[in-house]
Amino acid sequence: MASVKAKPNLLPQDIATLNVNELNPLTPYVISRQATINIGTIGHVAHGKSTVVKAISGVQTVRFTSEFKRNITIKLGYANAKIFKCDNQECPRPGCYKSYRSNTEDSPNCERPGCGGKMHLLRHVSFVDCPGHDVLMATMLNGAAVMDAALLLIAGNESCPQPQTSEHIAAIEIMNLKNIIILQNKIDLVKEAAAQEQYGQILKFIQGTIAEGCPIIPISAQMKYNIDVICEYIVKKIPIPPRDFTSDPRMIVIRSFDVNKPGSRVDELKGGVAGGSILKGVLKIGDEIEVRPGVISKELDGKMKCSPIFSKIVSLFAEENELQYAVPGGLIGVGTKIDPTLCRADRLVGQVLGSVGKLPEIFTTLEVNFFLLRRLLGVKSEGDKQNKVKKLSKDDTLMVNIGSTSTGCRVIAVKHDLAKLALLTPVCTQEGEKIALSRRVDKNWRLIGWGEIQRGMSEKA
C-alpha cells in the first residue's frame, strides 16, 4: 500500500440522474466512493491477518503487544481498499496491479519509475475480520452469504495443517464461500525449499474440502511482497457478486451515535447517525425512512412501549467518503434527522432501518419451534452430566439471537418442541426466521439450541 495524501478526486454522484436498474457492483460512480464486494479474512491472529489487511487497505490497526492489556487479540473489524490496474499496456504484471486506501482518487499515476501510465480503478472491496462472531451467527441464522470471498491465511513458518486451520475451513464451508484465496504468509522467514514443502502440505490438506483447487499465494505482509499478486487474483478470480439494488432498501444497524457538541443550539444540532450494512436496495439522501422497533420507553402504568422512528436521510458515508446514494457492500454511515439523544451509545444496535412501511413486523412475544442440543458444544465426554442441556422450562431467562439482534427473553410456556418467549426488547422480524437460544451455564452464555419463529405477537396499538 502506498500513501496517496492528495485530496481525493472522486466521481460525483447525482440522485437526479440515478437509475437503480442500471447499477451494478462495478458502476464507476459507485466504486469511486464505496466498497461493493465483501471479503472475509480468515486466520489465526499471530499469522498476520491484520498486517495483510493493512498492506492492502492502508488502514492502520492498533497494536497490542503485551499482556498488560485486556484485549490481546487485534480486532480490526472492517477496512476498505480500492484496487487498480495501470493502463499502460507495457506495464508488467503483477506490478501493474495496486491497492490504495478507500479515499484515493480514481486515477492516480502509476508509481513504476518511468511508466507514465494512469491507474484505472477496477474494484472497491471491504475486508471483514472473519469469522467475526456476528458474521458467523448471522450466516448460520439466515443462510445468507454475507461474504463474497475469503482470504485464508496460513503462516509460512509453521507446518500445515496448523491448529485452527480445519476450523477455518469449516467456517468457510458454513458461510458457503466458494471463492477462496490461500495466503502463505511470512514467506520472508523461511527458505525456498521449506516454502515449497509447505505448499505441498497445503495442497494435500485442502484436497476434498471446499478450498480444493483455490489459488495459493506466497506472500510477506510485513515486507509487502506479492501484495500486487493478491490484487490481481482478487480482480481475476473473484466473480462479481449478484446484488439486489431494486428492492426496498433495508439496513441492519450495528452502531448509532450522537456527534453533537453538548449545548449546541437547536438550529445547529445534527441528527443522530446510524451505521450498518445494507442488505438490499439503495439508500439515497432525502429518503424518508423508518427505524424499527424504534424507541423503547416505560409508561406511567409500568408497561413498556415501543415507537418506530420516522425520519429522513440527510447524509451518507462509507469510510471517509461522502455519498449521495449507498448500495450493499461494506459499512455505511447514515446521517438522519432523528433526535440525536435517541442514537446515543449504540442504543439502536440490532434495529432495522428502511423505507417507511416496508419493514417486517415488530414482535414483542414469539412462538417458536425449537430444538435443543443434547449437550453443550465442544464437550466430547459423553458421561459428563453437567454438560447436558437441560430442557426449557417456564420462567427461564435466556439470550436469543434473531438475525443480527440479540435480546433477553423469558420463557412463558413450553409444549413439546414449541415455546412462547416474552422478549425484553421488541424485534423487527418475520415468521419463519431462525433464532439461536443461549443459556447461562457456568456463568457464560452457552448455545443450547436453535429455533424458528412460528408466529409473533405485536404490541397493542
Binding site: 497490542f64 503485551s66 498488560f68 485486556r70 490481546i72 487479540t73 473489524g77 472492517y78 476498505n80 462472531h133 456476528d134 458467523l136 448460520m140 485452527q164 476450523e167 467456517a171 464451508e173 450522537d258 456527534v259 453538548p262 416505560k298 408497561k303 412501549k305 415501543c306 458515508f317 462509507a318 459499512l331 446515543r344 444496535v349 440490532g350 414483542t364 412475544t365 412462538e367 419451534n369 430444538f371 435443543l372 442440543l373 443434547r374 453443550l376 458444544l377 465442544g378 464437550v379 452430566k385 453437567q386 437441560k390 430442557k391 427461564d396 439470550m399 414449541l418 412462547k420 416474552a422 425484553l424 426488547t425 439461536a436 456463568k443 452464555w445 424458528e452 408466529r455 405477537m457 397493542k460
Partner: protein, 371 residues
Amino acid sequence: MNKTDKYFENKRKCMFQEWYPTFKQVTFSSTIIPLPKIFIDYLNSDHFVSNEQEFPQYRNDDPEFLDDESWSTPRRSTIVDSKYYQSYGSDSDSDSDDSDDSNDDDKKKNSRIIKESEFQHLLDEIKSIITKYGGYVLPKLNWSAPKDATFMNAFCTLKCSTPTDVFLLLKSSDFINHDLAQFETNEQDDDLTITPYVLVLRKWQNLTESMEFRCFVKDKKLLGISQRDTSTYYSFLKDKKESIQESIESFFNQNIKDKFSQDSYTFDAYVTKENKVWLIDFNPIHPSTDSLLFDWEEFFPELIVDDEESTPISEQDKLKLIQDLEFRLIENREGIRPNLAMESRLPMDLKDSSQSSAINDLLEKFKDKLQ
C-alpha cells in the same frame, strides 16, 4: 482477589466504596449497599429465572397468544439429527432424563437455587433508592458496571427502573463476573454475612459519550487524557481540546491530586457543556483497565512483560515514554467501526479464542442439521 497479585493494593483503593466518601462532592449521587453472601451466591448461580410480574411487559394485542393452551402446528422446515439434538416425539427418549438432574447438581457450586424473595430486604432497599433518585439508576459492583450486558436491558443501556432490571444486567455480565472473582467468599458463612462486595446504584444521568475522558496519573502527575469512546470521531472535540484540557487539569489539581490515596492510577472524568468537570470513576493501573488511545508501555514500561503470543518488537518500534501531559483524540473520520463490546451478545461457543474446539463442533453439528 489473590493477595499475590502485585497490583492488589492499587486495585483495592479503586473500589467504589473506598473512594466515594472522599469524592462525594465531585461525582454523581450514589448509594452503596454492602452485599450479603446470599446475594453473591444468587449472582454466581446459573439458576436464572424471571417471574411474569417483574419482567418488562408490553401491551398485548392478543391475550389468547399467551395462553398455555393455544399452540400452532409446527412448520418443521428444519430436520433435526437426533444424534445431536434432543427429541420430543412420543417414543420415549432415553437421553432426556432431566428428572434426576437436580439431585446430581446440588453439589455444584453454581447451581444453588435462590429465589429473589429470600433477600426481600435488599429488594426493598433497591426499590426505595430508585425512587429516591427519580426512577432510574445505573448499577455497578465494586469496580465494574455491566456494560457488556446492555442487550439484557429493555432500553439497551444501563438504565434500570426496577430491581429486576438490575438483576438481569448483573447476572448476564462478564464484567460483573470479573469483579466477583476478586474475593473468595467463605462457603461456611451464613447467608446474611456481609461480603467485601457492594452494589452501587448511581442516579441516572443523561450523559453524552463524547465528553467522557480517561485520565492517567503517574506519581501524582497527570500525564495522559484520552477520549473514552474510541470508536467514534467527534469533529467538535478538536476545537474544544484546549478548554477541556484546562478544565481537567484544574479539576485534577484541586480535587484529586492530593486527595486520592494512590500516586498512580487512572480516573474517568465527564466534562459538561459549561466545562464543569465531574468524576465518574477511579481505575487501577492494571491489565484489566483499558488504556484506550494510549499504550500502558508509554507510562509504565517497567510493567510490561513480553509473552510468547506477542510479536517481539524491535528497538525502533519501542514506544516513547510520556513525560508531559498528552491529550489524545480520534483525529479523523474513519467511517463506521463495529463496537467490539458487542461481542458479548453472542454465545461464548462462537469465540474462537476459547481452548475448546467448540466452534468446530458447532459447525459440524450445524452442517448435519442442514443435511
